[in-house]
C-alpha cells in the first residue's frame, strides 16, 4: 500500500531507520533508564539531556486497534488494521502502526505482536505481525 513518509530529523531518524539493521530503536534516557516515545532530545521523566536510543526486542502487545474499511484512495480498497502497540520492555511506551500478515478479524486487544519492517526509500516503516 502507498505510504506517506516521515521527514527525517535528528530525533526521529533512529526510529524510522533502525529497520536497516533489523532493529526497533526507541528513545532512551541514559540518566534514569526510561524508554520513551515519541523521541525528543530531553527525557520526559527526569528532564536529562543525556538521551539516545536503544534497540528493543520488537515484541509488543496491541493496546487498541481499528479495521479501516474506507477506501480513502483507490489503492486503499482492502481493509487494513491500524493499531497502537505497547512494547514489552516498558509499560506506557506505545506508538501507532499497522498489523499485517493476518486476517483483519484476528486482531484483538492484548494480542502479542512482533515487529517487521517495510523499507521505502531511506525509511524502514515498523509494522507488526501476530506473535502467537
Amino acid at each position: 500500500m502507498p505510504r506517506k513518509l516521515p521527514l527525517l530529523n535528528p530525533e526521529n531518524t533512529a526510529f524510522w531507520t533502525g529497520g536497516a539493521d533489523g532493529e526497533l530503536r526507541i528513545a532512551h534516557c541514559d540518566a534514569c533508564g526510561t524508554l520513551f516515545h515519541p523521541p525528543t532530545p530531553v527525557c520526559p521523566a527526569c528532564a536529562s539531556l543525556d538521551v539516545g536510543h536503544k534497540p528493543v526486542s520488537g515484541r509488543a502487545r496491541v493496546v487498541t486497534f481499528t479495521v479501516n474499511h474506507q477506501a480513502w484512495t483507490p489503492e486503499l480498497a482492502e481493509p487494513y488494521v491500524i493499531a497502537i502497540v505497547e512494547i514489552v520492555e516498558q509499560a506506557g511506551v506505545r506508538f501507532l502502526t499497522n498489523i499485517v500478515g493476518c486476517p483483519v478479524d484476528r486482531v484483538r486487544i492484548g494480542m502479542p505482536v512482533r515487529v517487521t519492517f517495510e523499507p521505502i526509500d531511506d525509511v524502514w516503516i515498523p509494522l507488526f505481525v501476530a506473535d502467537e
Partner: protein, 396 residues
C-alpha cells in the same frame, strides 16, 4: 485551587450564524461576514465597537476548507480597528478562540471581542474526496510534530484515531455499539426540530446498524456531516454587557487543561483529556454538574461525546454507555438534554462554535421548536484527542 477566575468578568452578548449548507454557493468570506455582522448586531453593537478578534484555528494551511478565513482577513474585510487579535491551531481545541478572547477582555487588552469559526468542508469534499485528509496537513514528507507518527500507517482521517478510542472504551467498560448509537439517534431526533440542520429525516436503530462501517467499531452515522458555515459570537466585558440588549451569558468557568502528552496516540485512550479538562472547569466554580440544564458536547465522532459526558462529570468514568442507554436521559425531556440542535452529527460540522451558539440560543429562549424550559446553565465542550476545552455558561 485557582485564586483568580477572570472569566467571570466576561459575557457572551451576541451570536450569529450563516446558512449551514452542503454546500453553500457563497464564498467562505461571505459566510463569515454574514455570521459576524449578525453577531455584532445581536450584541447591540456596531463594527466600531469591536476592538478584538479571535478564532480557532485561523487560516493556518493556505486557506484550505478546514479553516479558510482567519482573523487578519476578517479584520480587513470589516474595517475593524483592533486593540488585540489572535488565532492559531495550538490551543485547547475548537473553543480556543473563545478562551483567548475572554483572556484578552479580562486582561484589559480589549472590550468587545468578535470570535468566529468558518468551515467549508462540504465544498472541499466536492472538489476532492481527500481534501481534508490528514496527509494534506504537510506537503511532501510529513515533518509535523505529531501527524508524522500516523500518516505513514495510512491514518488519513481522525476517525481511525477515534475508532481506536472507541475500541478501548468498549473493551475496558463493556460499552456497546447499541449504547453508542444513542448519540447519533438523539442528535437526529433533535435535528428534526432545527430548520438549519443538515439531516432531519428520522433515524432508527436499524438505520444506524445499516450504515456503512468506516473504521471499526465506528460507522458513517458516528461521523459528523461536512457543511459550509460560519458561526460567530461577541464577548464583552461584563460591566459593558449590562447595557447591551441581551441578558449577558457569563462565562462562569473555563476548562483548558492538558496533562498527558499532546499526541493522539499518547493520551488516555478511553478518556482522551476530558478528565483533566472537566476537573479544571469544576475547580473554577461553585456550580456542579447537577446544576447544568443542557450540554452541548463535541460530536465530531459519537464516541467523543461519550467521553465528554464522563470527563465533565455527568456520569462516572466508564458509565457513559449506560448513562445514554435508550436515549431518554439526553433527550429534550431528559435530565441532561444533549446537542439540542442536532449536534455536528446531524446539524452540521460547524466545528466548535456551533455548540456555544446553541447553548446561547437555549439560554436566551430562541431555540424554537427545540426550546428547553427556561434553562439557566449550559456547558459547551469541544475537541478530540489532545485537543479539548470547555465552557460553563450562566445566564444571570
Amino acid at each position: 485551587m485557582f485564586d483568580r477566575v477572570f472569566e467571570k468578568d466576561v459575557a457572551i452578548t451576541g451570536i450569529g450564524q450563516s446558512e449551514v449548507a452542503r454546500p453553500s454557493s457563497k464564498s467562505a468570506m461571505r459566510l463569515t461576514v454574514e455570521a459576524c455582522m449578525e453577531a455584532i448586531g445581536d450584541a447591540g453593537l456596531t463594527r466600531d465597537d469591536i476592538d478584538g478578534v479571535a478564532c480557532w484555528p485561523g487560516d493556518n494551511n493556505n486557506g484550505d476548507s478546514f479553516s479558510p478565513v482567519g482573523t487578519a482577513a476578517i479584520k480587513s474585510a470589516l474595517g475593524l480597528k483592533l486593540n488585540w487579535y489572535g488565532a492559531g491551531y495550538e490551543g485547547p481545541g475548537p473553543l480556543a478562540g473563545v478562551i483567548q478572547g475572554a483572556m484578552a477582555i479580562a486582561t484589559g487588552l480589549a472590550r468587545h471581542v468578535l470570535v468566529f469559526r468558518t468551515i467549508t468542508e462540504a465544498t472541499g469534499r466536492a472538489r476532492s474526496r481527500t481534501a481534508n485528509a490528514l496527509t494534506n496537513k504537510s506537503a511532501g514528507r510529513d515533518g509535523t510534530y505529531y501527524w508524522q507518527w500516523y500518516t505513514p500507517f495510512n491514518v488519513l482521517s481522525a476517525i481511525n484515531l477515534a475508532a481506536m478510542y472507541a475500541q478501548r472504551h468498549f473493551h475496558d467498560y463493556g460499552t456497546t455499539a447499541e449504547q453508542l448509537a444513542q448519540i447519533a439517534l438523539t442528535c437526529r431526533r433533535h435535528a428534526a426540530l432545527n430548520p438549519k440542520a443538515v439531516y432531519r429525516a428520522p433515524m432508527t436503530m436499524d438505520d444506524y446498524f445499516a450504515s456503512r462501517l468506516v473504521s471499526t467499531p465506528l460507522r458513517v452515522f458516528d461521523c459528523d456531516v461536512h457543511c459550509d458555515a460560519s458561526t460567530a459570537l461577541v464577548l464583552s466585558r461584563r460591566d459593558a454587557a449590562k447595557d447591551q440588549p441581551n441578558p449577558p451569558i457569563r462565562i462562569d468557568a473555563i476548562g483548558s487543561a492538558i496533562h498527558s502528552p499532546h499526541a493522539w496516540d499518547q493520551v488516555d485512550l478511553s478518556a482522551m483529556i476530558t478528565q483533566e479538562v472537566g476537573r479544571m472547569m469544576w475547580n473554577r466554580t461553585d456550580l456542579t454538574p447537577a446544576d447544568v440544564d443542557t450540554a452541548q458536547l463535541y460530536d465530531g465522532f459519537s464516541i467523543l461525546t461519550l467521553m465528554w459526558l464522563e470527563g465533565l462529570g455527568f456520569c462516572p468514568r466508564g458509565e457513559g454507555g449506560r448513562f445514554i442507554e435508550n436515549g431518554t436521559c439526553i433527550g429534550l425531556d431528559g435530565d441532561l438534554p444533549l446537542n439540542t440542535n442536532g449536534g455536528q452529527l446531524s446539524g452540521g460540522r460547524t466545528h466548535g462554535l456551533g455548540y456555544v451558539h446553541e447553548a446561547c440560543a437555549q439560554l436566551w429562549g430562541r431555540a424554537g421548536g427545540r426550546q428547553l424550559a427556561d434553562p439557566r446553565v449550559a456547558v459547551a465542550a469541544a475537541g478530540g484527542g489532545p485537543l479539548g476545552g470547555s465552557l460553563l455558561l450562566v445566564r444571570d
